[in-house]
Every structure is written in C-alpha cells, then in structure tokens.
C-alpha cells in the first residue's frame, strides 16, 4: 500500500480530476439534458415556494436531492444551469474521492486511468451532469466508502444515510456498509441523523410518503410499460454492446478475482453486487440507475489495473475513454436539450396571461415561472388510476380525469412534446391557436369554449 503518495503525484492527480471536472461542467451547461430532470427541478421550485413534498404534491423520490436543489435555487435563482453545474461538480467530487483513494493504495498511472474510466464513462457523464440525484449519490457513496475503510463510523453513517435520503437507489449500498460497521453504533447514529429528512416526512405525512416512495414503485411503476421484461433484459445486457461499459465491467470482474484477498475489494464487491442486484429488480430499470454502483466498481477495477505493470494500460484507458466519449457526444449532438425547449418556453410565456391555467411539461412550468395546477406537478403521476376520493389526498390526477379537464377546455394554454397526445385528444380542434415548435413540441392557446 502506497499510504503516502508524493506531493507531485497528488498534484498531477488533482490536475487530472480538475480537467475532468471542467469537461463535466462544460457538458452540463451545453448538452446535458434528461427528460426526468424536469420534475426534480419542479419539485425543488415548489419547495422553494413553501410547498412540502408528499404533503402538498406527489413526489416518488426520497427528498434530500429536491431540498438540495431548492437550496441552490434559493441562493442562485430559479433555473437549470446552477443545479446542473453543481451535479457536475458532485460527480467530479466522486471521481476525485475514488481516484485519490486508489492513489493511496497504488500507483499514479492506476489512479489516473481510473479517474478517466469513471469520469468519462458515458452514462456517468449523461446523468451525472443533471440535477437528478445521480451525482449527489455517487459523491455521498464514495464518501461513505472512504469513511468506512478509514473506520470513521459517524461520518460513514452520515454519508450513507444522506445517499439514501437523496435516492432510494443508494439504500442497498448503505445497508452493506452498515453490516460492515455493525459493531460501531456511531454509524447507525450518523445514518439516522442523515435520514432525518426521510424520517420527518414519514412522521408528518406517513400515508402520502409511503404511497409515493414505496406504493407507487410497487404498484404503478410498470403501468404503460408492457414490454418491461424485454426492456430490462436489454438494459441489463447493454454493457456487452458498449465499449466503455465492457471495459468497466470487465475490469471490475477481474478485480474481484485478483484482489479477493483485500478487505476493501471484498467490501466493494459486496456493495457493487448488492446495489446492482437491487437496481436490476426495479422494473423497468435503466442504465443510469447503475451509476450508484460506479464508485465501488471503480475500486474493483483498480485492483485489476494494479496487476498490470507500466504506464501504457492507464494511458490506453484514458485515450479510449476520451475517444469513446467524444464519439458519443458527437452522435448525440442535436438531440433534445434545454436549448430545444427555449423557444417553447418563450412561446408559453408569450401566450399565457397572468392567472391563466396552464397544462405543460415540468420543464416549462419551471422556466416559464408558472406554478402547476394541483395534481400536475409530475406528469408520470397521471398513470395512477384510482377513485378521485383516494386520489385527492395523494395529490394524484388520473389520466382519465385530466383528459376530461382537457376536453372541457379547462386549460387556457396547453403545451406538450407528445405528438401522440395531440392526436389522441384531438387538441387542434379544441384550441383556436396552435404552434408546432421544432419536431416534437406543440403549444395550444385560445380554447374553443362554447
């Protein structure tokens, strides 16, 4: 174990991590976009306006990331740019925590290779630069791991609990670390402290919290996903058809084998396997969910890389990762982004008079500065079909009820990026004015009221 890396090594690794952070920051401000980030940002906006998740609106996530984004917005203003910049920095922080750990155990080339391996992994870049909880979870999980191997139980518990408070996807990692630290009550104390946002919500709005965070995922997640088995099989095997995915998974598996006598490798193997197994059971699952296992997979990969002497393997990995990411960004360039939504936001702002009732995607509410009507805070919540008396206390607006409101022309302005909805609801017949913006989005205003 190289427990005392030289200052030169630390500076070089710091420079590499800073370069990766800069790349992630640039990406977060230009190309980074995921459709689901809309409701995360809107939740933060609602919190900022004094609303409480679960109690006042449907929110199927644990709350810490939404509070964190709300704090960022409180300090820097409503918008997507600073939350995305923060997410990029959180991801870069995770890269630094893991690669600096590897530097303490191994050699500089291994640490650098590893920083590139995780920092430029395409799924990490796509989803670690948006204000969903992936960046925060990776950072907190990496911190929890380092505190655990450093036997700092209180901080390990705090970081694990905070990760689970940011996303339930990170809960299994915390559970494994808890088992590793079970003789240390401080871990449990820290975890409980960090879980206080979750425990508070559970105490104040137990019914809504359990429905949103558990019931929705158990009972409604697969609704409108009839092909989830094939979808999940495709996701779970996608690393086989991804050059960079293959390198990370291949090195991690090799690392488990060659480093099996090392306690930190055994710990990471357990965490990575348990977290991956848990995420694989989230039907439908998605590649980005597996980012919570990336810090641990990275430590495993480092055990394999350590066995290869010389600098060229690390240099080759760095070059391959740069080339593969450049190709991915080039190929994805022109896809849907915040830039695509800018003219849609402008149009909605132009046609929505003060007090107008607006039906829109979450991103549009956020950027147009419009508060969503009750039940419209999360569009995926509409797939929950239940009697209205049950739906009301849960802040659910079922699709059938929403369709009725649309057909009764209850919305002064309607924005959608789903062409199938435009056809299904015959929206052109319901509104006097329509504008298609780009290939995918439509704004309707001036309803044909009788």
């Amino acid at each position: 174990m190289n427990s005392n890396p030289t200052k030169r090594d630390r500076v070089i690794l710091g420079a590499v991590c800073a370069t990766i952070a800069a790349a992630l920051l640039v990406y977060s401000q230009t190309e980074a976009f995921a459709w689901d980030e809309g409701f995360h940002l809107l939740a933060a906006r609602l919190i900022l306006a004094g609303k409480r998740p679960y109690a006042d609106f449907l929110f199927a996530q644990t709350p810490l990331n939404a509070y964190w984004n709300a704090l960022i917005m409180r300090l820097t203003g409503v918008g997507w740019r600073i939350p995305q910049a923060m997410a990029a920095l959180e991801t870069a922080g995770a890269v630094w925590l893991i690669s600096s750990y590897v530097l303490r155990r191994s050699r500089l080339p291994v640490a650098i290779g590893l920083a590139f391996l995780i920092g430029l992994n395409d799924v990490v870049v796509w989803y670690g630069c948006i204000p969903q909880s992936y960046g925060l979870c990776m950072l907190l999980s990496a911190a929890a791991f380092r505190f655990t191997v450093g036997e700092r139980a209180l901080f390990a518990g705090l970081a694990s609990g905070a990760a689970a408070s940011a996303s339930l996807l990170a809960a299994p990692s915390g559970a494994v670390l808890f088992i590793r630290m079970w003789r240390r009550p401080a871990f449990l104390a820290g975890a409980l402290l960090a879980l206080s946002p979750v425990l508070w919500a559970l105490a104040t709005t137990p019914r809504q919290f359990v429905f949103d965070v558990v019931g929705f995922h158990v009972n409604y997640r697969q609704v409108q996903w009839s092909g989830w088995v094939a979808h999940d099989a495709g996701v779970l095997t996608s690393w086989l058809d991804s050059g960079t995915g293959l390198i990370l998974v291949g090195l991690a598996i090799a690392g488990i084998w060659v480093g099996r006598s090392r306690p930190d490798v055994r710990l990471c193997a357990w965490v990575a396997c348990v977290a991956s197994a848990y995420v694989a059971t989230a039907h439908p699952t998605f590649p980005q969910y597996f980012t919570v296992a990336v810090p641990f997979a990275a430590v495993l990969a480092s055990a394999a890389l350590e066995k290869v002497s010389g600098r060229w393997p690390a240099a080759a990995i760095a070059m391959l990762m740069v080339a593969a990411l450049a190709r991915e960004i080039w190929q994805e360039h022109g896809d849907f982004s915040w830039g695509t939504l800018a003219p849609v936001i402008a149009k909605v702002k132009q046609v929505a008079t003060p007090g107008a009732r607006v039906l829109a995607d979450e991103h549009i509410y956020l950027m147009a500065g419009i508060m969503p009507p009750e039940g419209l805070e999360w569009s995926s919540g509409h797939k929950i079909e239940m009697p209205l008396d049950q739906a009301r206390p849960l802040h659910v607006l079922p699709q059938s009820e929403l369709d009725k409101q649309i057909k009764n022309r209850m919305f002064d302005v309607l924005e959608t990026c789903e062409e199938s909805d435009v056809k299904r609801l015959v929206l052109r017949a319901l509104y006097k004015n329509t504008e298609q913006i780009g290939d995918d989005c439509f704004v309707f205003w001036n309803p044909n009221r009788p």
């Binding site: 095997t237 086989l240 293959l246 080759a316 593969a324």
Partner: protein, 459 residues
C-alpha cells in the same frame, strides 16, 4: 498434437459452423446481396458480367454463386449454405493455425478464443453468411496467409489472386504477401507466388480481355467517379463507421486484444505478418468512400490471430486459461444479444411474401420493375439496365450508357411515367412518393416496408 485437443477445438468449430448454418438459413440477409445473386442468376442464364450487364465487382464470387445455383437451383438457400461453410472453414483454418503454434497447456483455449473472435463476430455473422463475397474472401485470404508461411507459395499466390478475383476489398492481401516474400523469401518463391497470383486472377483477366472498356468502367470507374453520388454525407458516415468499434463491446474487445497483440507479440513472424495485413487492410478500407463495417470482415482472420497472440503473451506472463475462455464466452454473449435485438430486421422471409404478391399479380409479358431480390425469388429476368438498382445513379449520355448497360435514373423515371412497367415493386417509400406510383397504378399493396403496384390506370 493430441487427438483430444483436436477434438475439443473441432467440436467448438463444429458448434460455430452449426450456428452459422442456422443463421444463414433464418436471419442471414444483406440488402446488397440481391444484386450478387441476380448477377449469378444472369450468368447461369448465359449472360456475361460487364459484357452483357453492369457489375461493379470482380467476378469470381458471382461465378461461384452461379455454379451453386446451377447445382442447387435458383434461390438464396444454397449460396447462403456455401457462404456459411466458407466462413466456418476460415474459422477452422485460423483455430488450427493457433492450435499448432500456441504453447501446449493453453493452446486449446487460445484456439477456441480465436475461433470465437471470428465465428461469433456479429458483423461477420451478419454478412459472411450471405451470398456476398465476405465468406469466400475470408477463406481465400487466410488460405493465402497460411500457404505464404507454411508453403507452397504457389498456392498462396493462387489463393491471393482468387481472393482479389472475388472482391477488390482483398486487394491489399496480395500486395502485402508479395512484399513479405520479397523481404523474407528468395527470388524463386516470389516468382512462384506471382505465377500463382496470375492463375488466381484468371477470371479477372478473362473478362478484362473480352470486355475491357466495360470491365474497367464497372470495376474501377464506377468506384472512382460514381460511388459517392447520392452520398453527400459520406465523410461523417465514414467517420461514424471508422469509430464504430468504440461503441461496440465486440469492437472494443477486438481492438484492445489486437493492439496489445501487435505490441506484445511483435517479435513473432506470424504476428508481424498479421500486423502488416491488418494495418494495410484498415488503411485501404477506410479510403473506400463511403465505407461500411462489413468491409472490415476481410481483415478479421488476421485480427483474430493477433488477438490470440495477445492472449498467448498474457498466458506466458500469467499462466491461467480463463482469460481465453472468458473472451470466447463474451463473444457468444454479445452475439446472442445482437441477434436478439435484430430479430425484427428485414430478412428473406419478408421478401418472399413480397415475391409471392408479385407472382400473383404479374401477367405474362408484363415488364417488371423490382428490387434484385424479387427478380431472383420470382425467377423473372430483369429488363436491360435493371440488373443493379444502384447503377441508376450513373448519369451519362445515352450512347455511353447503352455501352455500359446503364439505365440512368432520369431515363428510368420516364419509362415509369410512360407506363412501361406492368408491375412495380419497391421497398423504398421515398421512391414510391417521388414517382407518384399511387396515381399511376390502380392496385397496390403494402407488405411491411415494401409496395407492389399493378393495373396501370391508363390501361
């Protein structure tokens, strides 16, 4: 060499052969194989490539397919079986080569890994089981390589010449082996090799002699002057193809193993020759604008030998057999995933339904406008100039076009609008709209992505 080792590698190659055969008879399909099969059909009917119809390939594969069709009857099943067996034979030649040269304790798994790297490569499985020249080119290429190293070099020359006669994609093979023999062999060996190449090139030389102008235009002129027509975005397309391995599990695995094999095994003679072959192929194939992933299958046997070289060097440093077994397992898993994901792609089964509809609606004496596959499946002979759909993009004066058996798109459009065709079949919806076929014909049927039009309105 122990019999048991041969049996184990033989069993692996037999399993790959069975898989290739099954794939060739079920999913094996490449759009471009239509004109290869149609060319074979025309040769079988007594026509001569270049002299009687345009054919922008060297002739051996078409002649070979014509022979197969003569024996097995008109259709795609026989040529597909032949291609699958050619690919399987390539797999065997490479596996056997590795088996004979690798260190004893690991050689079985190294040979199996090499076999998997070719026989389970998704691009090779997709394309080298069709009636295009990929299977034959791989087989002749690896035969030339082995004869060059193991003798007799006359046969190396014949195989290299025959490979170039089957597809111009293999042209670098003959040149690299020639240079290798100049530096590593004596004058006699070089002379024997050159004599062999000339023998292998007999089909090319024959057609060059009987139709020099047409041969030159088809095989060289078309690729120099007309290949990029209708491909305005070829530069980005090529960049995407050339970097495609970065976004493919098999591509990345192969690249890493090949690059490491070149570095780690550079002192070994066969690795050095394979390195030159792969480098020459990659350079040459990346200059054919537009290029395609399947072109690189001709370099695959040599890449597999380099990859096995890497695994061998790894074994010498870290004597475990599992890395080679893991490579074989990964190749199988990756192929299974790709085949599953591509299950809904177009296949011959889709086109057979279209061909049935064409057969049902066509009247004796009707002139048929169709994709090449449909001519093959229905047994109809294409009208002059319709033997290769891509040739319509060659715009040239009528007297020149006639000499080269070219029907420019403008002239074809006129014929369509004049109502020269009793039945039109097309799987190109843009073309259907552009020509306004729904207005020209009274009856139409859409089958998947394809359309069949008949009953001209003016009639």
């Amino acid at each position: 060499m122990k019999r048991r080792e041969f049996a184990m590698v033989g069993a692996a190659v037999a399993a790959i052969t069975a898989l290739l055969l099954v794939y060739s008879q079920t999913r094996g399909f490449g759009w471009d194989e239509g004109f290869h099969l149609l060319a074979a059909r025309l040769i079988d009917a007594g026509k001569r490539p270049y002299a009687d119809f345009i054919f922008a390939q060297t002739p051996l594969n078409a002649l070979w397919n014509a022979l197969i069709i003569r024996v097995t009857g008109l259709g795609w099943h026989g040529p597909h079986v032949a291609s699958a067996l050619e690919s399987a034979a390539t797999v065997w030649l490479v596996a056997d080569f590795v088996l004979r040269r690798a260190p004893v304790p690991a050689r079985v798994w190294l040979a199996i890994a090499a076999a998997a790297l070719i026989g389970l490569n998704q691009v090779a499985v997709n394309y080298a089981t069709t009636s295009q020249a990929y299977g034959l080119s791989m087989l002749l290429g690896v035969a030339a390589f082995r004869f060059c190293l193991e003798g007799p070099v006359l046969l190396a020359g014949i195989a290299a010449g025959a490979a170039a006669s089957a597809s111009l994609l293999t042209a670098p093979l003959g040149i690299v082996l020639f240079l290798w023999l100049i530096f590593r062999g004596g004058v006699r060996r070089v002379a024997a090799y050159v004599a062999g190449v000339l023998v292998g090139l007999v089909p090319v030389l024959w057609y060059l002699a009987i139709a020099p102008k047409q041969f030159w235009f088809d095989v060289v002129g078309f690729h120099l002057y007309y290949r990029q027509v209708d491909w305005s975005g070829w530069f980005l397309h090529d960049l995407e193809v050339l970097t495609g391995w970065l976004d493919s599990g098999q591509g990345m695995l192969m690249f890493v193993l090949v690059a490491a094999g070149v570095v780690m095994g550079r002192k070994r003679r066969e690795i050095a020759l394979c390195s030159w072959l792969v480098a020459a192929y990659c350079l040459y194939l990346s200059t054919t604008h537009p290029t395609f992933a399947q072109y690189f299958t001709v370099a695959l046997p040599f890449a597999a030998i380099l990859a096995a070289g890497c695994l061998q060097e790894l074994y010498e440093r870290y004597p475990r057999r599992w890395p080679a077994a893991l490579v074989a397992g990964l190749m199988a898993a990756m192929l299974a995933r790709t085949v599953w994901q591509q299950a809904a792609n177009m296949s011959w089964a889709n086109l057979e339904t279209v061909a049935s509809e064409v057969r049902r609606v066509i009247h004796p004496g009707d002139k048929l406008y169709a994709d090449e596959h449909i001519y093959v499946l229905t047994g109809a002979m294409p009208p002059p100039g319709m033997e290769w759909g891509s040739s319509h993009k060659i715009a040239m004066p009528a007297d020149q076009a006639r000499m080269y058996h070219v029907l420019p798109q403008a002239e074809l459009d006129k014929q369509v609008k004049r109502g020269d065709f009793g039945v039109i079949e097309s799987c190109d919806e843009d073309e259907v709209k552009r020509l306004g076929l729904s207005d020209l014909y009274g009856q139409s049927k859409q089958i998947g992505d394809c359309f069949v039009f008949h009953e001209l309105k003016s009639h």
